[in-house]
């Protein structure tokens, strides 16, 4: 992109996303323990309070090689890619794999992972999928306690209420900073590009949160004192599967769109809800998790659609792109209901099936460009 210089701290954040594994490796080298987390219902606060580094397990854009011996080729390309990492030793630093009761492929890692990476304990948080219900409190809290006990057993460090409150405060700060950062995209032109915002949020999810918060504060400062890039084009909201690679957002911006908001498991869904410090810390965590209807594997679905529509308004989006990672069923199932909701509001939607290894980007470019032309022609 030409135009005013971009905030220098972005380079640091980009380096994290480009080679994420350096962060857990450094943590290990300093004597710490690392827990891989998939996805939104194994609370990172508990892991952090137990002295571990929660790591969101980014994949890499390359064809699946080894994992096809363990999972069918018609399953989530991201998870199969991750299994490749497990199989060829790239995740050797993991001390624990923390899973949620979400999509089938994530859940079934409970069986498959131990075969691929024997020796790494795997824990599944059996979260309820029907949320926004007070009735699940006892059950869910019990699951969180079990998760806490497992974290303590692996790390060897007990979780105290103070420690958990401290962790929550730290994470809430990351959430607040990212919310503020994303808010800058309401402007026209937005003060940061779609790929930049994604990189900032994703890097923050990978880094230890004290470090992340320092960098995010610097980014906010640098952005406030910089010129917004002089850009124009249809304003796009991107929603969909777990995205661990800015390439798709870069493609949308390359053909003339402005990605002004994203509703993704790896970014805004992850930081959307603060936990708060009211009451007993585990209870506060439950209250937050019970609101996380943002994951496509939870209900009620309408709550998620409401949020997408609210984001369309808040960020003045002209159109929505639903990104479906290849063979990600939870999001495919909601494509048509989402279309109906958006159509009723006259918001154009396009649904893109995207390969995790970036295959088919040539045709994708045509689809996106044609969609933007359609949105933009008067």
């Amino acid at each position: 992109m030409t135009g005013p210089a971009r905030p220098p701290v972005l380079d640091e954040l980009r380096a994290v996303v480009r080679d994420p594994a350096t962060i857990p490796r450094a943590w290990k080298a300093a004597g710490g323990k690392v827990a891989g987390v998939r996805c939104l219902f194994a609370p990172e606060e508990i892991l952090w309070a137990a002295g571990m580094l929660p790591y969101p397990l980014p994949g890499s854009p390359e064809p699946v090689r080894l994992a096809d011996a363990w999972l069918q080729p018609c399953t989530c390309e991201y998870v199969r890619n991750l299994l490749d990492h497990a199989l060829d030793g790239r995740l050797a630093f993991l001390d624990l794999l923390a899973l949620s009761n979400t999509c089938d492929i994530t859940r079934r890692l409970l069986d498959v992972w131990p075969q691929c990476m024997p020796g790494t304990p795997v824990h599944l948080v059996n979260n309820p999928q029907k949320l926004l219900e007070d009735g699940n409190r006892q059950f869910f809290l019990e699951e969180l306690r079990r998760f806490q006990a497992r974290a303590e057993a692996v790390s060897g460090k007990p979780v105290t209420p103070e420690g958990l409150r401290e962790a929550t405060r730290l994470y809430d700060e990351t959430r607040a900073l990212l919310t503020e950062l994303y808010g800058l995209r309401r402007e026209d032109p937005p003060r940061l590009t779609g790929p930049e915002a994604f990189v900032a949020a994703f890097a923050a999810s990978i880094l230890p949160k004290d470090r992340a918060n320092t960098l995010l504060r610097r980014l906010l400062d640098e952005l406030r004192s910089s010129e917004p890039p002089d850009r124009f084009g249809p304003r796009i909201l991107v929603t969909g599967s777990a995205l661990d690679d800015p390439a798709l957002l870069e493609l949308i911006e390359e053909v003339g769109g402005l990605v002004v908001a994203d509703d993704l498991c790896t970014t805004s869904r992850w930081f959307a809800h603060p936990v708060g410090t009211d009451g007993e810390p585990l209870d506060a965590l439950w209250r937050m998790l019970n609101k996380r209807t943002l994951c496509a594997c939870t209900f009620p679905t309408e709550a998620r659609f409401d949020r997408i529509l609210a984001m369309v308004d808040e960020f003045h989006a002209d159109a929505v792109v639903q990104f479906n990672l290849k063979y990600c069923h939870p999001f495919l199932h909601e494509s048509q209901p989402l279309r109906k909701r958006l159509e009723a509001r006259n918001v154009p939607l396009t649904i893109l099936e995207v390969g995790h290894d970036r295959s088919g980007f040539g045709q994708l470019r045509t689809r996106i460009q044609a969609f933007l032309e359609m949105v933009e022609q008067p």
Binding site: G233, P234, E254, G256, Q363, T366, A370, E373, E376, Q377
Partner: protein, 281 residues
């Protein structure tokens, strides 16, 4: 005002020279390995027919899968928008377009001005696209242009041929040949497979007449008749179905030039369009 539209497709390169909305000249050539060269050759061939040069063009727009590398275009527009625009000119009242090109296939809905209102594209595999017909013609050692009429000689839908994978289809056809199945039966089967594959695309965008078929396959009556039968409507085939995208690009070039002239030097203040300028980035 004279404008040029260049469509660099996977199988053929097309160029249309437009003067005040009328087609002055056009050309279709086979695509070589180098898209820049294909674009340059076909543009110059069309211009030569009109006795003109690149310098005489007020604006040039490129389209097709090679659209982003055309060095002399001021702007590139997706083939989807261009086909709608071009079909709107050639087929009055068109609302649904099926474009069957060499490598992919798309169903497009548009309004009365040729603006796209929705579209779907086939998946990555070339089954259901023009190239699969080339493979069939090669296997049966017939000329591509004879394929459609020959297929019509079979009374029914022909023998079953895979519609999802060109590689499967190829081995099926080879075994039919070994069993001495008549060529017309095999060709009818291949046309049926192609038609059923693209039928889904048309149904997904929803069919509203007038219905036009563009792209190279529009010349294949074997496929066209089967599609018409399945959809229950008559397909309108533009006189030169292959140049519809290039024509659309030339019309976009004209609109671009008109907009620019109207805007004059009012400059940057207004909210510009990303489709406005910005070259063939």
């Amino acid at each position: 005002m004279i404008t040029l539209g260049v469509d660099v497709g996977s199988l053929t390169g097309k160029a249309v020279v437009l003067r005040d909305g009328e087609i002055l000249a056009w050309e279709v050539i086979l695509t070589g390995p180098d898209s820049v060269e294909t674009a340059t050759t076909v543009a110059h061939a069309a211009l030569a027919k009109a006795g003109l040069g690149l310098d005489d063009m007020t604006a040039i727009v490129s389209t097709g899968y090679g659209r982003i590398v055309v060095p002399f275009a001021q702007r590139n527009v997706s083939e989807i928008s261009c086909h709608a625009k071009g079909a709107n000119r050639l087929v009055p009242g068109v609302r649904t377009i099926l474009d069957m090109g060499g490598q992919d296939c798309k169903a497009i809905r548009c309004d009365g001005t040729g603006k796209v209102t929705s579209f779907v594209m086939n998946d990555k595999c070339a089954a259901g696209a023009g190239r699969s017909m080339g493979i069939v013609a090669d296997l049966l050692k017939i000329r591509l242009e004879d394929l459609g009429p020959l297929a019509l000689e079979a009374p029914g839908d022909g023998v079953p041929v895979s519609s999802t994978c060109v590689v499967f289809a190829r081995s099926e056809i080879l075994s039919y040949q070994r069993e001495a199945t008549p060529k017309s039966e095999i060709l009818a089967g291949a046309c049926t497979a192609l038609a059923s594959r693209v039928l889904g695309l048309v149904k997904r965008v929803g069919l509203e007449p007038e219905f036009a078929i563009t792209g190279g396959i529009a010349k294949n009556v074997g496929v066209v008749r089967r599609l018409e039968r399945a959809l229950g409507v008559e397909a309108r085939i533009p006189p030169e179905p292959q140049i519809v995208g290039a024509l659309g690009a030339a019309i976009f070039a004209r609109e671009l030039a008109e907009k620019k002239a109207k805007r004059g030097d009012r400059g940057a203040g207004e909210r510009r369009s990303s489709l406005g300028e910005g070259g063939s980035s």
